[in-house]
Symmetry: C2
Subunit: 130 residues, 2 copies
Amino acid sequence: MAQAQTLSRNQQIVLNIIEKAKGPLKAYSILFNVQKKGINAPQQIYRALDKLIEMGKIHKIESKNAFVACKSSDCEISKATAFSICESCEMVDEISDAKLSKYLSSFNHRKGMKFKRFNLEFFGLCKKCK
Amino acid sequence: MAQAQTLSRNQQIVLNIIEKAKGPLKAYSILFNVQKKGINAPQQIYRALDKLIEMGKIHKIESKNAFVACKSSDCEISKATAFSICESCEMVDEISDAKLSKYLSSFNHRKGMKFKRFNLEFFGLCKKCK
DNA sequence: TATCATAATGTTATAATATAACGTTTGTTA
DNA sequence: TAACAAACGTTATATTATAACATTATGATA
């Protein structure tokens, strides 16, 4: 079984950069930042990103094609993610709201579909940009 | 002011294809389907898609980079969209649930952000694929 | 109806995002 | 230590999306 905690070298490098970043990072901007460390190809970045997502260490912001570190204890390895996204600056904030999470996790579509996972993106202007 | 109802030729062509489709369509697959009608370049598709989204006639499924026709009267020109997405087949269904919509529209993040819009994607297996 | 502004068009080129496919290396564990 | 799985490195290419520029249609109004 894959060990939940141990990160490979490339995974650790990529995660460090994402964790240090103030906002969401794009794959190619990560790539440019790690070329000094000997990572040269997009494939290497995308592979690390995929694994980090699987492990729940990071999330993809779908509307921005960008990645943020997970800050939520509620998201249960990315089964229940919610973000607030500022349409003016680059700010993205992960929303940890147990009530919201519970409400959505128990939501079931009439048409017979049982959901395994959801991703919610809110858009607006953050405090600064308002 | 832009007239909410009148569609240009290209917009109409693109909308027709999306409305006739059984599932979400990707930009380039739309392009291949309309080359017989004299639309030759991606730019033409993307421009039509952008306008149709603005008008609320279609929505983008962010996790799939694909587009579906709007079927909801609740979504208020894409201010409040929710979809159920089958992870096995290509099925995407727009969720019209007034309660859900109201709940999320009135949700406000603690950190002082007032939301203008949200997009929610649920993932699971549809009836057929289950 | 002439004119002006706006929206939409057509086209070429290119940017940005992401994956396929292959062989090699490393790490785990039986 | 042999065998397997995971991660790596690399080249090539596929997919998604936008920039930039010239042209043509459309609609409002003077």
